[in-house]
């Protein structure tokens, strides 16, 4: 079946199967910032924005994206640049595998709760696993990003 949806503000009409996840659909079309990690709703590396809200692309059936607006980091370059800068300053950037998912979560957090404190950031980022950082530097980077963004 074919589905029509908006990907990074561009209309796309792609073929999918009923059981295909949004993650597999995106990666099949070379949207590779969306990583395939646990593929089981646990690690957060496949996070994308659906209608501006973070969702796990591995958990969303592609067929249900018809008519929806999907954003990945490729479509939010200006804002992701600011997040990357904060990550760089705070040393939150190591292997980088989890960064796209966390960047999109922070972008959503800024829209939802721009004055979030460290505890609220930690709670919002639960579900994003990082095997490098120990998370402290990422929370600092998030505070820097939100502080500069507000």
């Amino acid at each position: 079946m074919k589905i029509k949806f908006m990907l990074n503000d561009r209309s796309q009409t792609w073929h999918t199967e009923p059981g295909e996840s949004l993650l597999d659909l995106l990666r099949r079309h070379h949207v590779v910032s969306v990583k395939k990690g646990c593929d089981g709703s646990t690690c957060g590396v496949c996070t994308v924005l659906m209608n501006q809200k973070p969702v796990l692309a591995c958990t969303v059936l592609a067929v249900r994206c018809a008519g929806e607006h999907i954003h990945t980091v490729e479509g939010l370059a200006d804002e992701v640049e600011k997040i990357s800068e904060a990550f760089g300053i705070e040393g939150a950037d190591q292997c980088g595998f989890c960064n796209p998912g966390i960047a999109l979560a922070l972008y959503a957090l800024k829209a939802e709760h721009p004055e979030a404190d460290a505890a609220e950031i930690k709670q919002y980022l639960e579900g994003h696993l990082c095997r490098c950082s120990g998370y402290q530097s990422q929370v600092k980077a998030a505070l820097r990003y939100l502080g500069e963004a507000s």
Binding site: P18, G19, G40, K53, V55, L56, T59
Partner: protein, 266 residues
């Protein structure tokens, strides 16, 4: 990829219900978040998206939550944050991450009667009625007590607003893990409620202990401890790969006593 033979996008609840009755193995798709907990191929999947079941309606006396409302929307709703001091929002906030809760729905989380559910246990502290397409209204407790699969469509749940103080405790190895056990305790209009979930069976009320507590005139610290012991005597706890029965018993005793102390303000 999940094996789905036929995906049905429907335009009305009538059509969804007709297909549900037509195909013996048909599965309703809420948020789709839990669909991967099963490993069997799915012959017919009926999508409930777009049928207007995704709104929360608050009145002076109740909250009506559509079955397709996401767990995150429920968690962050101002009216739900006020129930019982916010214990329900707090419980919801402990279910995986925000991105998962933006997908998982209230209906899918209830209809699955999942043994690991962190939603059913706190909901048992409240007067909750499920609104089904065909069967009409049904108490949550009645639904949970039923065996087998109900071939009906959950449209919404209604929570009656009542004076309530409540607490919820989830015990898990990590924030992202399923509960080893969970406990909810409340005083609703002066009467005690206690529920235990992830036993590993589905959440259940400790009704005999609740009735006993209502007869105690001046409860003390010893009452709360005794209540915890009575709960593990009356509610069946078991062993699975997450925890042994004896460990669950210790957890339940402890958190029931602490919960009663907390909600009673003693």
């Amino acid at each position: 990829m999940i094996h789905i033979e036929q995906y049905h996008k429907v335009d009305s609840l009538e059509e969804a219900y007709r297909l549900l009755q037509k195909y013996e193995t048909a599965v309703l798709l809420g948020g789709g978040a839990w669909i991967r907990t099963g490993s069997k191929p799915l012959e017919h999947v009926i999508d409930l998206k777009g049928l207007g079941l995704d709104t929360i309606i608050e009145t002076k006396d109740s909250l009506s939550i559509g079955a397709m409302v996401s767990l995150r929307a429920m968690e962050t709703h101002a009216g739900i944050r006020q129930l019982g001091g916010g214990f329900l929002s707090e419980a919801l906030s402990q279910i995986l991450g925000v991105a998962f809760r933006n997908t998982a729905t209230v209906g899918g989380s209830i209809m699955g009667k999942f043994s690991f559910s962190d939603l059913l246990t706190p909901l048992l502290m409240l007067d909750v009625t499920l609104q089904f397409y065909d069967a009409g209204p049904m108490r949550l407790t009645t639904f949970l007590a039923q065996r087998g699969r109900l071939k009906d469509i959950l449209q919404a749940i209604t929570i009656e607003k009542k004076a309530c103080r409540a607490m919820f405790k989830k015990v898990a190895n990590t924030a992202l893990d399923f509960s080893i056990v969970n406990v909810a305790v409340a005083i609703v209009e002066g009467r005690y409620r206690i529920a235990v979930g992830a036993r590993p069976g589905t959440a259940i009320l400790a009704e005999s202990v609740m009735a006993w507590l209502d007869t105690v005139e001046s409860p003390t610290e010893a009452t709360w401890k005794e209540a915890g012991e009575k709960v593990v005597e009356t509610i069946k706890l078991g062993t699975n790969q997450r925890a042994h029965e004896s460990y669950r018993q210790q957890l339940v005793k402890t958190y029931v006593a602490r919960g009663l102390k907390e909600v009673s303000g003693s």
